[in-house]
C-alpha cells in the first residue's frame, strides 16, 4: 500500500496554517472545582442539535435547536433559539413541552419566517412576533422541507398514506404482513404557502430519498430508489426534473448509492458523493462525482484522493466545490477546483466538522458546528469563497464546560500495524493523569466499519460516555483500525474478501504502543464496541484473553446468518465475494471470518447488548455469542432493550447499559465496587 503518511504530509504542507478566532480565555481560568463527569452530567449537557444551525439569508441571525434532557419523557427535547451574529445573548423562541422536531429548520428566502417540524407537520414561525402556525396538514408525516427561491412554495417529502382497507385490517388486527414487501413509498410534494394547497410532484412505485431545488427554482435533482429501505439505497439513481415533476430523466446507472446531490448554480451539473471509484466499483472511500444534467457519465472530480468526502456544495462561481472531508481523526473543509481536479485544504485542527452544515450564498457564508475536545459543537462560520479562511465562532454554549468538568485531554495516537502501515486513533487521558503512572485502558471500537473516530465528543456520547470513563481514571483509546475511512482506498479495502485481515492486529498493536509508552497497565484492559465495533470485539475475544472484561453491542457473530437477517447487504457484497446462497458460494470465507467459529476459545467476561427491533444486526447475532459463552461457562449477560433499533435512543436504556458496563469494568478490570447512578426523578 502507498504510504498514507507520505500522502498526509504532502497535503498538509500545502495547507495554509490557520489560527482560529474565538474560544480563548476560558482555558486560563481553570478552577479547582472541576469534577469528573457523571453519566447524568453527560446526559444532561445541553447540546446544539446536529444540522440545526441555520443562518438567515442576510447573514445576521443564527437559528438553532438546543437540547434539554427530559427525564419524564425519557428523551431529549429540542427548543428553538436565535442568536444575533453581531453579539448579544441567545434568545429562546419556543417553549412547548414536546419541543420542536430536529432536522427541518429552514429560513424563508426573505428571512422573515422560520420553518420547522412539530408532530410530523410543517410549522411557520414569524420572526417579527406572534405564534407559529401550522403549514401542512398532510395525511402522513412530512420531512426534508425546502423553500422555493421565491418563498411562495415549500417542497417536502411524505410517505404514501395507508388505505382505508389497510386501516380496517389494522383495526381488527388482521396484520400478517409480507416481509420486505410492506412499505410506503415516499414522494416529493409541494405546498403553496399562501393557500395551503398541496400538490404531489412525484408518483409511482419508487421513493424519493433526497432532493435539492436549483438556485432559480426551475429544476430539482433527486435520488429515487425502488423502495424506501436503507438496504435499497444502492438500487437508487440520480434524477433531474423540472420543478413541477416534468421532463424527469435519470443521470446515473450503477449499483451504488448516490448521496447528497447538489445542483450547480447554473443548473447544468449535479455533484454527488458515493462510496465507489471512477469505474463505479463499490467499497471505496466516499468520492466526489459530477455529472451533467444533460446526460453522460459521472466524472470522479479528485482522482486518487486520500481522504473521504463527507459533504459538498457548489461554490457560487460554479467552478469550485466546497467540501468537508474525513481525514481520519479529524475533518476539515477543502476547496475543490472542479476542472483541475485538485483539492485545497482550508482548515486544520484537532476537531470534527459534522457533515450537516449549510452554505448560505446570499450571506456569503457557510455555517457549521465544530466538535472539539473542550467544546462539543459550538457554531462557527467561514466565508463561502476564498482560499484562506478564518473560522469565526458564533455561539458560546460550551464556555463553562472545561471550567465545571474534568473533561479529558485528547491527542492523536499513532502506531504501526503488523504490516508496517501507520494506524491512528484518538487517545483520551484519565482525569487524574500523572506522568509515570499506569492506568487502566478502555479500547472503544467504532461502527461502520467505513467510519472513523475523531477528536471531540463524537456522536452517541451517552453510548460511549468517554468523559465518564476518563473521570473514573481510565485511558480511552478509539483506534481507527483497518477498514476505517480517511486513510485511503487500500486502508478501507482491507475488508474486501474476508473482512478481518489487519483489523485485530491494528487494535492490539495500538494497545501495545500505549503499554510501551508506560501509560497503560496491561493487566487492566477493557474492550468495548457497537455494531461493526461489536463485531470486532467478538472477533478479538476469540483471539486473545488479554482483556479482563468486554462489552459488545449489536455485533455480528455469524456472517452466514447475518447476511440473510440484515436489512442491508449492499455494502457487504465485497466482503465475502458474493452471497452465501449462490452456486459455489464462498462459505469458507463467510464461516472462517465468523467470530462464532472460534467461540470456544473465549475466556473474557463479556456483556452483550442488542435492540429488540434492530433490523441491521438483529438481536439473534448477540444471542449466538451470549448462549455460546454461557454454555462455555464464561461470565456473560445479554441485555435486550425493547423497541430499540440499531442505535438505542431511550435515555433510560442507555443509562442502564452504561451502569451495567461500569459495574463490570470496575469489577473485572479494577476490582472495585461501582455504585449505580440513578435516573433523576422527573
Amino acid at each position: 500500500m502507498r504510504s498514507v503518511r507520505a500522502a498526509l504530509t504532502a497535503i498538509l504542507s500545502a495547507v495554509v496554517a490557520i489560527a482560529f478566532v474565538g474560544g480563548g480565555g476560558i482555558r486560563a481560568q481553570e478552577a479547582p472545582a472541576r469534577k469528573p463527569m457523571s453519566l447524568i452530567d453527560l446526559a444532561e449537557l445541553p447540546r446544539i442539535a446536529g444540522a440545526s444551525p441555520q443562518l438567515s439569508p442576510d447573514g445576521k441571525t443564527l437559528a438553532y435547536l438546543l437540547t434539554r434532557t427530559d427525564w419524564t419523557a425519557g428523551r431529549l427535547i429540542f427548543q428553538l433559539w436565535r442568536q444575533e451574529i453581531g453579539g448579544g445573548a441567545p434568545i429562546q423562541l419556543t417553549f412547548s413541552d414536546g419541543g420542536v422536531q430536529p432536522g427541518a429548520l429552514r429560513w424563508s428566502p426573505d428571512g422573515k419566517t422560520l420553518l420547522f417540524l412539530r408532530d410530523g407537520q410543517l410549522v411557520l414561525f414569524p420572526l417579527d412576533g406572534g405564534e407559529s402556525r401550522p403549514l401542512t396538514k398532510h395525511a402522513t408525516g412530512v420531512s426534508s422541507p425546502a423553500w422555493s427561491p421565491d418563498g411562495g412554495t415549500v417542497y417536502f417529502i411524505a410517505g404514501d398514506p395507508t388505505t382505508a382497507d389497510e386501516r380496517e385490517r389494522s383495526r381488527v388486527r388482521d396484520d400478517v404482513f409480507l416481509w420486505d414487501e410492506t412499505f410506503r413509498q415516499r414522494q416529493l410534494w409541494k405546498i403553496v404557502v399562501s393557500t395551503g394547497v398541496e400538490t404531489q410532484i412525484t408518483t409511482g412505485d419508487s421513493t424519493v430519498r433526497e432532493y435539492v431545488v436549483s438556485a432559480d427554482g426551475k429544476r430539482i435533482a433527486l435520488q429515487r430508489a425502488p423502495a424506501p429501505g436503507d438496504g435499497d439505497a444502492y438500487r437508487g439513481e440520480l434524477w433531474v426534473m423540472d420543478s413541477n415533476g416534468e421532463n424527469a430523466r435519470v443521470l446515473t446507472n450503477n449499483s451504488i448509492e448516490e448521496k447528497t446531490p447538489e445542483l450547480s448554480p447554473d443548473g447544468s451539473q449535479v455533484l454527488f458523493l458515493a462510496d465507489m471509484n471512477e469505474r463505479f466499483e463499490p467499497n471505496y472511500p466516499t468520492n466526489l462525482f459530477v455529472v451533467s444534467t444533460a446526460g453522460g457519465s459521472p466524472r470522479l472530480v479528485v482522482p486518487n484522493f486520500t481522504y473521504a468526502f463527507d459533504q459538498a456544495v457548489w461554490a457560487p462561481d460554479g467552478r469550485s466545490i466546497v467540501a468537508s472531508v474525513n481525514m481520519g481523526v479529524h475533518a476539515e473543509f477543502f476547496r475543490i477546483d472542479v476542472d483541475a481536479g485538485r483539492a485545497h485544504q482550508l482548515t486544520d485542527g484537532t476537531h470534527f466538522i459534522p457533515p450537516t452544515w449549510t452554505a448560505v450564498p446570499s450571506a456569503g457564508k457557510i455555517v457549521f458546528q465544530i466538535d472539539e475536545p473542550t467544546r462539543f459543537g459550538d457554531v462557527w462560520t467561514i466565508p463561502i469563497t476564498g482560499t484562506t479562511v478564518t473560522p469565526t465562532r458564533v455561539t458560546s454554549r460550551f464556555d463553562t464546560l472545561e471550567r465545571d468538568f474534568a473533561i479529558p485531554r485528547q491527542e492523536k495516537a499513532e502506531w504501526k500495524g503488523a504490516d508496517g502501515v501507520t494506524v491512528e486513533g484518538v487517545l483520551f487521558y484519565p482525569a487524574d493523569y500523572r506522568g509515570g503512572q499506569r492506568y487502566p485502558l478502555v479500547v472503544q471500537l467504532h461502527g461502520g466499519p467505513m467510519e472513523s473516530d475523531k477528536f471531540g465528543i463524537g456522536a452517541g456520547s451517552t453510548l460511549h460516555y468517554v468523559p465518564v470513563l476518563t473521570g473514573k481514571g481510565y485511558f480511552v483509546l478509539r483506534p481507527n483500525y483497518r477498514g476505517s475511512l480517511g486513510y485511503g482506498a487500500a486502508f478501507v479495502r482491507d475488508v474486501v474478501d474476508g473482512y478481518f485481515h489487519q483489523m485485530a492486529p491494528d487494535v492490539m498493536l495500538g494497545v501495545d504502543s500505549l503499554i510501551a509508552r508506560g501509560l497503560v497497565d496491561q493487566d487492566r484492559l477493557v474492550l468495548m464496541g457497537w455494531s461493526a465495533g461489536g463485531t470486532l470485539v467478538d472477533k478479538l475475544l476469540t483471539m486473545t484473553d488479554r482483556f479482563k472484561v468486554a462489552s459488545s453491542g449489536a455485533g455480528i457473530s455469524n456472517w452466514i446468518s447475518l447476511y440473510g437477517q440484515t436489512d442491508n447487504t449492499s455494502f457487504r457484497r465485497t466482503w465475502f465475494g458474493g452471497t452465501p446462497w449462490r452456486t459455489d458460494a464462498p462459505f469458507d470465507l463467510f464461516w472462517n471470518n465468523s467470530p462464532i467459529r472460534d467461540v470456544s476459545k473465549v475466556k473474557t467476561p463479556t456483556l452483550f447488548f442488542a435492540g429488540e427491533a434492530d433490523t441491521r444486526v438483529p438481536k439473534e447475532q448477540s444471542v449466538e455469542m451470549y448462549r455460546a459463552l454461557k454454555s462455555l461457562g464464561v461470565p456473560t449477560q445479554l441485555l435486550i432493550a425493547p423497541n430499540e433499533q440499531h442505535q438505542w435512543g431511550a435515555l433510560v436504556h442507555l443509562l442502564r447499559k452504561a451502569n451495567t458496563e461500569l459495574e463490570w469494568f470496575e469489577k473485572y478490570a479494577n476490582h472495585r465496587r461501582y455504585v449505580w447512578e440513578k435516573t433523576p426523578s422527573p
Binding site: E168, R173, L178, I560, G564, Q565, R582, D584, W591, I596
Partner: protein, 689 residues
Amino acid sequence: MTTSSWRLTLAAAIVVLGATAGGQTQTPRPMGIVDLLDIPRLSDPQRSPDGKQVLYTRADADWKSGRHISHIWRAPIDGGQPVQLTSGSDGEGETGPRWSPDGKTIAFTAKRGDNEFAQIFLLPADGGEARQLTTHPSAVSELTWAPDGSSLFFKAPDAKTADEKAREKARDDVYLYDENYKQTHVWRVAIASKAESRITDGDFSVTNYELSHDGRKMTYLRAPTPLLGDGDKSEVWVSSADGTNAVQVTRNTVQETGPAISPDNATVLFVSGSNAKFESYYNGRLFVAPAAGGPARVIVGENDPLDVNRAIWSKDGQSIYFLANLGVHEEIFVVPAAGGKPRQITTGKHSLSGLSVSTSPDSFTFIAANSHSAGEVWTMAATETSPKQVTHVFDYLGRDIKLGQQEAIQWKGADGVTVEGIVTYPVDYVAGRKYPLAVMTHGGPQAADKYSVGSMAYEIQVLAGRGYVCLQPNYRGSTGYGDAFLRDMVGHYFQNAHLDVLAGVDELIRRGVADPDRMVKMGWSAGGHMTNKVITVTDRFKAAAAGAGVAQWMSMYAQSDIRSYRTPWFGGTPWQKDAPIEAYWNNSPLKDVAKVKTPTLFFVGEKDPRVPMPQSLEMYRALKSNGVPTHLYVAPREPHGWGELRHQLSKLNAEIDWFEKYATHQPFTPERAPGDEKKESKPTTDHQQ
C-alpha cells in the same frame, strides 16, 4: 346426537363415518378454511367423584376477539345435553377445571373483572355464580384439591418486586436475556380462610407437581429455571405435602415428565425420552424409582417398541396405565407395577389425550380424535373392552361437511425400512383418477402424524375438499416406530428422513393416486425444516410452503429456546472445541439453497422463540436473491404456533392460493372472516389533498 345408541367402539365408528360421509339428507359441502378454523377443541376431561358426569373445557373460535375462547362444560356420561357452566367474556379454564373431592364444587382459573392475573374461582356444582378464591400477585395454574377438600394446591410464578414494578412504570425495561424469568413454585390456599401459604421455595422452579393419593406426599419436577431450555436439567423430587422432607429421586441430564407417587407412597413413576442409562433421544420410556430415593428402572419401553407418553397409577397401586404412541394411532395400555408385559386396552384409528383415571372400579376418561373428529370425550372402565362416547360435538363433520377418507399406508424407505404415513383422499375420490398431491411433514421431529381432521398448520380436509390427496409421512426420526427409526437422525438429522418422504410420494404415484405434475410440499416447524430441505434436493414439487422452518443449524442452535435434543443430531454444540461444524452445515438447507427452483412461501411468527424469525429470513432472502418466486409472511405477536384467527386465515388463504397458482392452476377466492363479508374492500387510497 345423544342417547346410548351412540355407544360404538372407536373402530366401528370409523365404519359408520364412511356411511355418514356417503349420503345424508342435507347436501354436505367441502370443508372451507373458516370451517376448519371454526372446529371446536375439547380438552382436560375430568370425571365427577360419583362418576356420573364429566367436566371439560371447550374452545370455540370467536371471530370478534379474533381468538379461541374456552369455557367450562359438563356432560352427563349416560346421555343428555352437555351444559356450558361458565361464559366469561375472556374465557375460563385454560389450565383445567377440577371437581372438589365431595363433588359439590368446581375450581377453575380465570382472569375476570379487574384481575391482572388469572385467579382461582369456585363454582357450586349444583348452581350459582362462581366466587373468587385467590388474590395472588401472579397467574395461578395447575389446580389440585387436597383429598379432604379443605384446600387447593396451585402453581404460580414468584411475584414482581416493588423495584421491578417501579422500573416497569419508568419504562426502564432493558432486560437480561434468558435471565428475566420468575421461578415458579407450589402454593396452597385454604378454602375457608382464603389464606395462601407457600409450599416450595428457593432458586429453582417447580415445572410440574402431583399430590399423592392420600394427600400427604407430593412429587414434582424441580428445574434450575422455568425456561424450556433447562428442561433437561430438571429432576424428580418427592416431599411431604407441606414441602418439607424433600428428597431428590433422579440425577441425570435428561428431561423427565409426569412424575406420580404410588398409592402406598413408596414408589414414584415418571416418563422420559431416554434409555435405561439415561442417555437422551429415545422413544418415551416408563420408569419407576423408590420414593425415598434410589436407582430408577425402566418398566416399559426398553424391550418393546412403545413410545410412552403419560402414565397413571391404578388405584390399588398394582398396575400402571399409560398412553403409548404407535405411530399413526395411540392407545391405552396397562402394565404390572412390578414390571412385565404391557397389555393394550384400546384399539382404534385414533389419537388419545387428556387421560385421567378415577375409581371405582378404575375408569378412564379421555379425548379421542380421529379422521372425522377433533376429539370427543370418552369414558371406559378398565374392565370393559369398549369405550363409551360422552360428547357429540363433531357429529356435524361428515354430516354437513364432506370429509376425505383417511387410511394408513406403508412403503419402503431407500434402505428397505418400512415407513408409514396417513393418506387422506380427496372428497368424492374416484379410484383410478390421479389427483394433485399435498405432502405434509409433521413437526417435532420427535412426533408422529395420526388420524386427524387437520389443523391450521395442516389443512388436510380443506385440501381434500379442493381435490388434493394428502400424504403425511411418518418419516425417519418419528416416534412410535422403535429407537432405531427415531435415532436415524442422530449424527446428521437428514439421513433417511427426506428420502422417506420422497419414497412415500413415489408410492402414491405408483398406486396411480398422485399426479406427479401437480405436487406441493408443506410443513410447519420440523415440517418446515423438511420442506426447506426437500426443495434443495428436488424440483418435483410445483410449489411449497414452509412455516417456522430452519435454514441453518449453527445459528438455529443458538437462537432457539431449546437445545437439548438438537445436540445429539450433530454430535455436540457448535461452540465446543473441535465442534462438529460439518454436520451442522451439511444438514443445513441453506447450504444447498442455490439449487432451489420451487416457488416457496414462508411463514413465521414475530415472537417465535423456538424457530425464530431470522431462520425464515435466511431462506426467504436467499430465494428472493436467486430469483425464485417467494414471499415471507410475518405474523405480529405470534409465537411458534399461531393463535390468532385472522393470522391463521391469512396463512391458509395465502398457502392455498400459492398451491393453486403454481400446481393446479385452479381458481381460488380467498375466504373472508365471518362478519367481514358485508364490508366493502376498498383498494383505493384516500389521499388527503
